[in-house]
């Protein structure tokens, strides 16, 4: 080993606390970088492979009913590689425990070879087209099978065409469109006990629903470079006669949108967090190395006198940073690969991807190393630049006392005069080390901001849930009918013992046209004096249902540029009866945090359809003591297709949030490590610089506590300002994080409760205090006798 290398090792050994602290920050940065980048890469590749192998549809078209042959016509359109026709229906799933669940039946033509949205069998076998003996074979999604303890050849029952139809489960399967099986945008989270994806041969589907030779959905694959809009228009023209209800591209497919949102979030985080960590690590090294060069001034002078060149010495000291970079990268790579494995297996639980690609992403590792080494070497070279200015002869003489001067605050003499000399000392030290002060301040701001970010997600979700499930939804159950019924029939429900209140709703799927553009929407009709549903305006205020006109959803209003007072054209796409058109005035804008939709008075919705007193569902408020009886009674009513319990939905949500605690824990750990490392390193440097001064104060009669207090005072301002500025900075970070995460499915509001700020401030105070206490341990070892000796 060369002499310089040996010297480097000793320097590292002498500063091992600081070395470890900065290595851990680098390692964390690289861990997050490699872990998240690899997780992103693996998930993205798994997704792409799966989509490709199973011909994930590029476009979806929904009609009321159309003959199967129409797919051949569509396939003739230039740009369409393949069109597959199928039937998709949500039907009640009749469970043994009388609970109401929903089955989403989707048909698949056999053979499936080249079809769009092919299945991927996970377990069991593929269904047979005609198994005989009136048997209908189906495949279900694995989560549903697991949650309901289904074995192969078990039967499940659905309600179809007023009959109870048994289906035989022969296996589990997935497809690109069920990677994340949720019912609709308002659900957000999977509820595998009560929602099933049921895959069934097309011929059986047609038979069960008496729709021989018919389909209600066309999915297509486009050739690369095809003009999506042109194709869409042509397909819509072909489907026009069959009641074209909706058409949407892959991006709006629910499962895909959720998966993509996760990928986008992962990508954003995999860039932001490592950048933050490496920047902090670089700043720490910059401060540390500047200090090391200063304390080793004499040694550097001697080396130069002996004949080592400036560059050689510069590289020697930069070697310190390089060592940090290498060790950090090695540890970071190991932990990063572990993190990627954990993340990938979490995703495997969450998403139905048959083949989750694991393993190491060499590219991420290479970039991780380059990043770590690059940043370290740069910080090292800049930090050690002082080496160049050291002159051998000068270095042998004691360094002249540092030029001290007055600081800005001293102009405020009435305040300055009142300060204790110890405060003056600390303030002047800050004034003399502005760069260090700034770097540490920034570090604390980042760390405290990161603490805010760690906690705020809980607040936002809590707010969203409270707002959605407590403030806005005031019913216990939302029931939907298989087809619209007269409001008078609701009497059968309101008369049930324990039902306190019943209010009718009408949910009408529509297409809203405005200034040449259109979007699909759901208009929800509510009674004028509705009490079980509170509406919220775009400022979060409570609003009331207007007598005339529609309260349009905020997202839709933004998308189409609709403002209050505008007149929009509404096209009904109910799927029953003729399509109706009407002009409706926009009376207001409503905001919903989960899901979307627009609101109107229910008689007006009926008028759109030229109907009278129809309801598609009802909201119920009940006596909680009678819950069991009411659920039983409702489940027995065949006209009811689904029954949602607000309490159960909320429970499902809360249950799923448990995993949040890991996210919060990891983020808090990151933030605290970051904050600790920077404060500790800088405090050790300040302490080292003033060792002699502090020791002489001990001789003069300062107690250990009083000497420590000096350092505390010096950090008081950084701590105070860092915490004060860290909180709004955290707010901004949270804001940009939400912007990266928000989707059409839900818009997480930026809500940060005061408690979160308080916790973050306390967290900040704790890591600063911990770092200082750690540093102060060396105050006990201050050698008083040392003061009397000659200077180094």
């Amino acid at each position: 080993m060369s002499i310089l290398a040996r010297k480097l090792l000793r320097t590292i050994k002498n500063t091992k606390g600081q070395f470890l602290a900065v290595v851990s920050v680098v390692a964390l940065g690289i861990t997050v970088f490699i872990g998240m980048t690899t997780a992103y890469y693996n998930l993205d590749r798994s997704k792409e492979n799966f989509y490709q192998q199973n011909n994930f549809a590029d476009y979806y078209f929904q009609v009321i009913r159309a003959p199967e042959q129409v797919t051949r016509q569509i396939q003739q359109i230039p740009g369409v590689i393949k069109a597959t026709g199928r039937i998709q229906k949500d039907v009640p799933l009749l469970k043994d425990n009388e609970e109401r669940a929903t089955a989403r039946l989707i048909s698949f033509p056999l053979p499936m070879e080249r079809e769009v949205n092919r299945l991927h069998l996970l377990e069991g076998r593929v269904f047979e087209k005609n198994p005989g003996q009136g048997r209908v074979e189906v495949l279900v999604d694995p989560q549903f099978a697991q949650a309901n303890h289904l074995d192969f050849n078990d039967q499940i029952y659905i309600g179809a065409e007023g009959k109870r139809v048994p289906l035989t489960v022969v296996g589990t399967a997935t497809s690109p469109e069920f990677v994340y099986p949720i019912k609709d945008a308002a659900t957000l989270l999977p509820d595998p006990e009560n929602f099933a994806i049921v895959m069934i041969p097309l011929n059986q589907m047609q038979q069960v629903f008496n729709q021989s030779g018919e389909i209600n959905q066309v999915v297509i694959n486009l050739s690369p470079g095809a003009d999506e809009d042109a194709v869409k228009k042509q397909v819509e023209t072909i489907l026009e006669p069959y009641g074209n209800l909706a058409s949407f591209p892959q991006e709006q497919q629910l499962s895909h949108a959720v998966l993509q949102a996760e990928l986008d979030g992962l990508k954003a985080m995999s860039q932001f967090l490592p950048a933050l960590f490496l920047a902090i690590a670089a700043s720490i090294q910059f401060i540390m190395l500047g200090r090391i060069v200063k304390t080793q001034r004499l040694q550097i002078g001697i080396m130069k006198a002996v004949g080592y060149g400036s560059q050689q010495i510069l590289f020697h000291y930069t070697g310190y940073a390089l060592s940090v970079g290498i060790i950090g990268a090695v540890i970071g790579t190991i932990l990063g690969i572990l993190l990627a494995t954990v993340a990938s297996s979490a995703y495997a639980l969450y998403f139905n991807l048959p083949e989750t690609i694991g393993g190491v992403n060499i590219e991420a590792v290479v970039y991780g190393f380059l990043l770590s080494l690059g940043v370290s070497v740069l910080a090292g070279l800049i930090g050690c630049r002082g080496v160049l200015a050291i002159h051998p002869a000068e270095s042998m003489r004691p360094e002249p006392p540092k030029g001290s001067g007055k600081i800005l605050l001293e102009r405020w003499s009435w305040l300055w005069k009142r300060l204790d000399p110890t405060w003056k000392m600390s303030l002047r030290t800050i004034g003399r080390n502005k760069v260090r002060f700034g770097v540490v301040l920034l570090g604390i701001i980042f760390a405290v901001g990161l603490l805010v970010v760690s906690f705020f997600m809980n607040d936002s979700i809590d707010y969203m849930l409270t707002q959605h499930y407590q403030e806005e939804q005031r019913y216990n159950y939302m029931i939907r009918f298989t087809s619209p019924v007269s409001e008078y029939e609701l009497l059968n429900i309101s008369r049930l013992d324990g039902v306190v209140q019943t209010e009718a709703i009408f949910e009408l799927p529509v297409r809203i046209h405005f200034h040449g553009r259109d979007e699909e929407d759901l208009i929800v009709g509510l009674p004028q004096n509705v009490t079980l549903r509170q509406l919220t305006g775009d400022e979060g205020e409570n609003i009331f249902l207007p007598e005339e006109g529609v309260l349009i959803g905020e997202n839709l209003a933004t998308k189409l540029g609709i403002e209050v007072g505008d007149v929009i054209r509404v096209e009904t796409i109910l799927g029953l009866g003729p399509t109706r058109w009407a002009d409706v005035k926009v009376a207001g804008i409503n905001r919903q945090l989960i899901g979307g939709g627009s609101f109107m008075e229910i008689t007006q919705v009926n008028r759109l359809l030229r109907e009278h007193l129809l309801a598609s569902g009802a909201m119920l408020k009940i006596d909680p003591g009678k819950r069991g009886e009411i659920e039983k009674a409702l489940n027995e009513m065949t006209a009811i297709s689904s029954m949602l319990s607000r309490e159960k939905e909320l429970d499902n949500f809360v249950k799923n949030l448990d995993s949040m605690i890991y996210f919060v824990g990891i983020m808090v750990f990151f933030a605290v490590t970051l904050g600790f490392a920077i404060v500790y390193n800088s405090a050790v440097v300040s302490f080292g610089e003033r060792k002699r001064e502090l020791a002489s104060l001990r001789v003069v009669g300062f107690s250990l506590k009083e000497v420590s207090a000096l350092l505390w005072k010096e950090y008081f301002f950084q701590a105070f300002m860092g915490i004060i500025f860290g909180m709004p900075f955290g707010y901004l970070m949270a804001l940009s994080m939400l912007k990266a995460l928000n989707t059409d499915l839900y818009s997480l509001p930026l809500v940060i409760y005061p408690a979160t700020y308080a916790f973050s401030a306390i967290g900040g105070a704790v890591f600063i205090a911990a770092a200082l206490i750690f540093t102060m341990r060396s105050a006990r070892d201050l050698d008083l006798v040392d003061v009397l000796k000659d200077r180094d």
């Binding site: 002249p400 006392p401 540092k402 030029g403 001290s404 001067g405 204790d420 000399p421 110890t422 003056k424 000392m425 002047r428 030290t429 003399r432 002699r692 001064e693 002489s696 104060l697 001990r698 001789v699 003069v700 009669g701 300062f702 107690s703 250990l704 008083l784 006798v785 003061v787 009397l788 000659d790 200077r791």
Partner: protein, 235 residues
């Protein structure tokens, strides 16, 4: 008989330097009287610094006792030693050890704040001849001026014992004599006991008692009935 202020009783101090045990002080006994000005002479390694450290409560003897005003301080807890340094001692170092971020006046104020009844800052600064330089930082002062601040810092606490470690070691001849005069003044006007540790034998001439150290022992105690004023000392 004069009153004993501080007393070393058969004090031994050994250090472990790697594998070698160094006996820096060997069974040394010494009485220092209230109000006297004492000079301790000796070459480096003679044990004079060790003795100063033990007198100053910065170091503990390996064996033997140290009594200050009759109270044993050699086995006192750290907090008692801090109180001892704070209330009874003044220290003047060879390299001044001023706080670079405080002005002359603030350096003195820092020490004044430690005791209940310090001397007025103005008086002390005037005594050391720095009333016009009190707003200067150490980096803006000469060595002699810095040492005067250091003396003012020690004097402001009205210490009963003023320990000076090579107070003129880093100064030129003229300035050194000025500093010695200041120390003498404090001894005479304020009544502080002053102990000057130095290798400069000439300085011994200003003391009534001169202790010569050699190899960890007191080699000789010389009585000097006619001490010279510092102005008349030459080296």
């Amino acid at each position: 008989m004069e009153k004993v202020l501080i007393e070393l009783n058969r004090v031994t101090k050994t250090y472990q330097m790697g594998e070698v045990t160094v006996e820096a002080l060997k069974e040394t006994s010494l009485k220092i009287y209230q109000g006297e000005l004492l000079v301790i002479l000796g070459p480096s390694g003679s044990g004079k610094s060790t003795m100063l450290n033990i007198l100053g409560g910065m170091d503990r003897p390996t064996s033997g006792k140290v009594l200050f005003d009759g109270e044993e301080i050699s086995d006192a807890p750290e907090s008692r030693l801090t109180r001892y340094r704070r209330n009874e001692l003044g220290f003047v170092f060879q390299f001044y050890n001023l706080i670079t971020d405080l002005t002359a006046r603030e350096n003195v104020e820092l020490a004044a704040n430690l005791v209940e009844d310090p001397l007025p800052l103005e008086d002390v600064l005037k005594d050391v001849g720095l009333d016009s330089r009190q707003e200067h930082f150490p980096s803006q002062m000469s060595g002699g001026e810095q040492q005067r601040v250091s003396i003012a810092r020690a004097a402001v606490k009205k210490p009963r014992l003023l320990l000076c470690d090579e107070p003129t070691g880093a100064l030129d001849f003229q300035t050194g004599k000025l500093i010695l005069s200041l120390l003498l003044k404090i001894n005479q006007e304020r009544g502080s006991t002053v102990v000057i540790v130095t290798h400069n034998t000439a300085i011994g001439a200003m003391a009534r008692r001169i202790i010569r150290m050699s190899s960890g022992r007191i080699a000789e105690i010389t009585e000097n009935p006619h001490p010279l004023s510092p102005e008349r000392i030459d080296w």
